[in-house]
Symmetry: C2
């Protein structure tokens, strides 16, 4: 396994791979690797000649007062995990390498970026798109792997990739969960023991929605959301940021459920903001 820190070195490799006709899988991360990332790496290893793991805590996707400074950083541990999983290349540039002095360019997917998490985190998805665009340009992957947990992020990247003719296959991998249902996330490390006990409430609220839609054939989004809110409030001290039911491609809110829907929520457990979602197939 090789660790690369500069754009120019990474670019040389990616050009070589293109000339050799090799397929390249990219797993772009902010480090603090966990089982979710491991499933992305495994899939990339199966589908590509070479797997590149990028590790970069991207300052431009954090808003003022968000957790950029305290975001977990553990490069040595990440390296060991990546090596064990058979990653060929880690790309771990510095902030100065990615955003040198005088940097001014941003990529934005309009509409999709201003709803849901984009409404709570102004500028977040512009930051995500910009860094992913740069990583795609530098690494030139054949395929790029993202977890369903960040569903909105994935849809935005998919849209950007198509719109800007980036010729990368964006692949969604299922959410990896703990036994109690909690979606695995680097931010779970912020949770205290008591908070961790409350955190499965997101999963439980989604299970409630699933039961209402699939078993009880409920089609009224407002009523389902109301029951989910009740679930969250009765089982935790969590503060709800949003609970929504949306069309899975446009992310537009749906009043009456028909066909597949995306049920998603963001809640604050103490000072930690957690997100989760289910794709649920209602009756057509």
């Amino acid at each position: 396994m090789k660790i690369i820190k500069t754009v120019s070195q990474m670019r040389k490799l990616s050009l070589k791979w293109i000339r050799q006709g090799k397929s390249v899988g990219l797993i772009s991360t902010m480090g603090a690797l966990h089982k979710g990332h491991r499933s992305l790496i495994k899939q990339s290893r199966e589908e590509n000649d070479i797997s590149v793991l990028s590790i970069f805590v991207n300052p431009v996707q954090f808003g003022q007062g968000e957790d950029y400074k305290k975001y977990p950083r553990c490069l040595q541990k990440d390296k060991r995990l990546a090596e064990k999983e058979g990653v060929e290349i880690i790309f771990a540039p510095s902030v100065e390498e990615m955003y040198p002095q005088g940097y001014l360019t941003f990529v934005n997917v309009e509409n999709l970026s201003s709803v849901l998490c984009g409404n709570s985190r102004a500028g977040h998805f512009k930051g995500v798109c910009t860094v992913v665009n740069k990583l795609f340009n530098i690494i030139k992957p054949t395929r790029a792997y993202f977890g369903q947990k960040d569903y909105q992020q994935l849809k935005i990247i998919e849209r950007m990739t198509k719109d800007l003719n980036l010729n990368v296959a964006v692949i969604m991998m299922p959410i990896v969960r703990e036994e109690n249902g909690l979606a695995i996330s680097s931010r779970n490390s912020y949770l205290s023991g008591e908070e961790r006990r409350q955190a499965p409430v997101l999963f439980n609220a989604l299970k409630k929605a699933e039961e209402m839609i699939r078993v009880k054939k409920e089609t009224d989004s407002a009523y389902i959301i109301n029951q989910m809110e009740h679930k969250v409030r009765s089982q935790s001290k969590a503060k709800i940021d949003y609970i929504k039911i949306c069309e899975p491609e446009s992310l537009k809110e749906i009043e009456k459920i028909s066909g597949e829907v995306l049920v998603l929520l963001a809640v604050w457990i103490g000072k930690t903001r957690l997100i989760d979602n289910f794709l649920i197939k209602g009756d057509e």
Copy 2:
């Protein structure tokens, strides 16, 4: 010469060229080719194995009430000129091919895009950046050629290319002028006989600035701009949009001239908006 109309066909060719190690020059135009474009093509032909001319009147860089609909289109004439100049490939996609239904992604260079022409034409440079980004992704040129007439556009594209790690050499070519000094532009075709007589006033005002800076060693921008305004008003009925003296990289306005400066102006001759600029070296 081959004419290509789809992204997928163009992409196949560009991938082939990369694998063959061929250098590719891109001249991205909105058609209505003139001597200015010809100088870009000639330079590209000298420096690259293959020259691609793109012809696309880009709707997203025109504002409401601007001349998108009346912009000159003459593909047959353009083809003949391109063939004569030895262009290998014309890429001429439709609007639907470049911006299919559901399109949402835009690239923007902040700060540089909101001053000068960006101040008069809201969203213009965002549209330019977006289409050039797409063309770079589709065609993957080694070098891309732009005329100095659109100096601000060139600086913005240069910044975008660097910021987003696009690995394209952005090359500036000198302004081509008519004998009377008028910078050649597709929009000159809008001018009536009387307007055409007045149009060299942009060049004359720039010559005035050059004389003041280089011969008279004048360093007071406000005074030079005042004299340029006087020149324009005394020699034409033109309506001045702006006259500015800027630092050539940051495009920030300069009060006291020292070293190289960019003197630029935009004026309305009747219903036609014309731009021009000089890079002028004052005393250090």
